[in-house]
Amino acid sequence: MKHVSLALAAASVLLAIDSAQAQETIRVGWTIPAEESKYWMMRRPQEFPDLGKKYKIEWSQFQGTSPMAQALAAGALDCATQGVLPIGQGMVNNSYQVYVVAQHVGERPGSFSVYWAVKDDSPIKTVADLKGKTVGISVIGGGTQGPFDLMLKKNGVDPSKDIKLVEVGFSLSEDALRSGRVDAVNMNQPFAARAEAKGGVRKLFALSEAVPNIVHIVEACRKDFVDKNPELVKAYVRDLTLGMKKATSNRAETLKVVNEVLKAPVEVLDTYLLKPNDFAREPGAAPNFAGIQAMFDTYAETGLLGKKLDASTLKHPTIVAPME
């Protein structure tokens, strides 16, 4: 009997230790590109006093934000990079509820804005000229389609009837345009910088003309996880804030960090990364909730979201970047 009691006590201690260890680890999803604060945390952990000591991160790389939304919904991740559209869809379907705790990149006046390009010699001069043409978009039904649809509608083009919309990943955009497989295609960095350097293409319109200050990717954490582990998420958000500060204040080192993660040559990254032709990073990684609200409204207006949503519900009262 004594042995059984001892065994039970030992098991309880082990379970308690295991549970404590489990609470110290946060499972985070990430993707490429444009998450410099996370890349700093992954590659320069020694620069973050709490990371690896007070808490640990289990990093998983994903191919885009959509599978991360599924993983968050399934409870396989605690926090992950998210676009505004998947967050909205999760809210509409009630499949998962998140807090937006930080922002990675967005747009603001003067920064890079995702744009649609045509060939220099193309007869397409205005958005209205897209009628009857084949137009490429990175993901049909993805985050950029709402502002894109809105822009077309503003110019008298029905996106569902007047154009042939085809899916062309950003990395293949330039080839698709130059080879004539599409008449217009969306461009993102670093491919836009490369295409511009080569010449022969011109900008037709940018998303910022449809919706200003677009929010591209944010850091979202499951509400149930945040409510259960507030101190752990606070430590994580503090490091995201610090990571963003390091990324924006030390461009030379950031180029090295991003090169280590992306394996893209520094010369390529140097053409755009953290330059005026790059996306905007908010100081301290603060989420632009007004921008998220504008995007929710755009998605609702263009039918990508079934109903209007309130972005303020995504904000935790205390756990949100910037956090010192």
Binding site: P33, S60, Q70, L77, K263, A264
Partner: protein, 260 residues
Amino acid sequence: MKRIADIPGFPPLMACIGLLVFWDLVARYLAISGLPPAWDALKEVPVILADPEQLLNILSSIRRMVIGFFAALVFAIPVGLLMGRSRAVAAFFNPLLMTIYPVPKAALMPIIMLWLGVGDVSKILVIFLGVSLPVIYHSYQGARAVEQKMLWSAAAMGMGAPARLLRIVLPAALPEIMVGCRTGLVLALITMVTSEMIARQSGVGNILFNSLDLAQYGLVYATILIIGVMGFVLDVLFEKLREAVAGWAQPVHQIAVGSA
């Protein structure tokens, strides 16, 4: 006098060189960024192999592949043999396997990820599923082909059912099982890569899919070449193993890739 084509390894080597030359010429003629010349891709191979981080990525994938492959063999060979010798077992498993067989295993990845998370277990399970089915099928066929008279004779001499399965059915079915294992090995390599398409912590997918996302096509094709060479080497090694354990039987199917 020995013909040049009889020199071991010469014909496959010439085929590889021919393919690389053809690829290089076509790529230079088409001049599209999505298809770099073969030489440009070959130049990236040592870059990948000299990077310790990338080597760890490749080793991480191989580790999952080995675990998935051997776990599949441990499961699939007994199931296949039992199906071959028992109508009841065959009737139970056959419809199940016929339903699962045509499903692309990588397509199950998002669902498996929801059940088992994004770690190694879900990837190993995809590899396990990819390898199990051909091994079960070939073990089943091998066990079915065993002469009934041999089993009757063994039973008459007092050998029990488990011993008959182990000492008569298994050795007799070995050549066919090895064919299944060889097919399974190729599928293990394929599913090793596809299992990393959606989510990964480490692996060859880190090189392949990141390069693809960033249009670093030289690296993409170099990674494909490395995976291809891995497949070739594994096939050659497996053929040596087959010769060692079932050399008494001619290969049931001449699907030699790496054997010269």
